[in-house]
Symmetry: C2
C-alpha cells in the first residue's frame, strides 16, 4: 500500500497527543464526551501498563503538529487455536479535512503489521455496511455480523 | 430468561475444568488443537491476573461433573464514550448433547450481567448469519459487519 506521504508521521500515541487533538479526531467517529487531561493520562497509563495488549497509533501532520488519524489494536488471548491470539482493530478515525489521502489504509496496515508480528492468527473489526468496501481494500473479508446490546 | 435447571451449575472457570472437559466443549465451536494442562494453567493464570478484563464462565452438569457450556467476556477500555468500557462476548459453546436446553442463553445472560455491572456502555459479539436469531433472542441487535484478515 506504499509509503506515507512525507508531510505525515505515523507513531505510537504519546501523552502530548491530548493537546495535539487526538480526541477531536475521535469525535468524527462517535461520542467522545469531556475527558480531562488527567483522565486521559490515567487511561493512557492503563494501556501502557498492558504491554502487548493495547497498541494505539496516530498519524501526525508535521506542518501543524496536529493528530489527524488514530487507530487501536487490542490483543485478546483465547483458549481456542492452541491458546491463540486475536487482534481487534478498534476506533479508527481520520480528521474530515484529511480524508481521501489514504491515511486510513496506512493506519490499518500498521496495526495489521503489529498484530501479525506478535503472532495473532487473525485480526477482526466491526464496521457499518457503509465502510465495508474500505476494509475490503485493506485486505479484509466479510466474516459475519456484529451484534450489540447497549445499556 | 428464568432459572438454570437444578441439575446444572453456572460458575467461573477453574483450573480443574481442564480435566472436566472445557476444551472438548470448545471443539464444537472451532479448532482448539493440543493444549497441555500446563499450557492451560498458564493461560488461566494470565487471565486471572487481569482482574476486570477477562471473565470466563462455564456450566457444569452436576450428575457427571463435566463442563457442558462455556463463554467469555473481554472488557476493553477505550477513549471514546468518556473513556468507556466495551464488553466483548467471545467463544460461546455448548456441548452438542446438551443443546436445546437453553444453556446458551444462560451463559449470555450471565456475561451480560457482569458487563453491565462493571459499567460497560455496550456489549458486542460477532457471529455467523446462521446464529443471528439466537442472539436476537438474547436481546442483541444487528449492528453491522464483522471483517476478518487471517494470517
Ligand atoms: C473499525 C472501527 O473503527 N470500528 C469502530 C469501533 O471500533 C468503535 O468502537 C465503534 C464505536 O461506535 P459506538 O460509539 O456506537 O459504540 O464504531 C466502529 O464500529
Ligand atoms: C459469539 C461467539 O462465540 N463468537 C465466536 C468468536 O468468539 C470466536 O472467536 C470465533 C472463532 O472462530 P475462528 O476459529 O474462525 O477464529 O467464532 C465465533 O465468531
Amino acid at each position: 500500500s506504499g509509503k506515507l506521504a512525507p508531510d505525515y508521521v505515523l507513531r505510537p500515541l504519546q501523552l502530548s497527543d491530548y493537546r495535539a487533538g487526538v480526541l477531536e479526531v475521535l469525535k468524527d467517529l462517535t461520542t467522545v464526551g469531556d475527558i480531562s487531561e488527567e483522565r486521559f493520562t490515567e487511561q493512557f497509563e492503563y494501556m501502557r501498563a498492558r504491554q502487548g495488549e493495547y497498541f494505539v497509533i496516530i498519524i501526525e501532520k508535521i506542518a501543524t503538529g496536529n493528530v489527524v488519524g488514530v487507530g487501536s489494536l487490542l490483543v485478546e488471548r483465547k483458549f481456542i487455536h492452541e491458546c491463540g491470539l486475536v487482534g481487534h482493530i478498534e476506533d479508527i478515525a481520520v480528521a474530515k479535512s484529511e480524508q481521501g489521502k489514504k491515511l486510513g489504509i496506512k493506519i490499518i496496515g500498521a496495526l495489521d503489521f503489529i498484530g501479525k508480528k506478535i503472532g495473532c492468527y487473525k485480526i477482526i473489526l466491526d464496521c457499518s455496511p457503509h465502510n465495508e468496501q474500505f476494509y475490503v481494500k485493506c485486505g479484509y473479508s466479510n466474516a459475519g455480523f456484529e451484534m450489540t446490546k447497549r445499556f
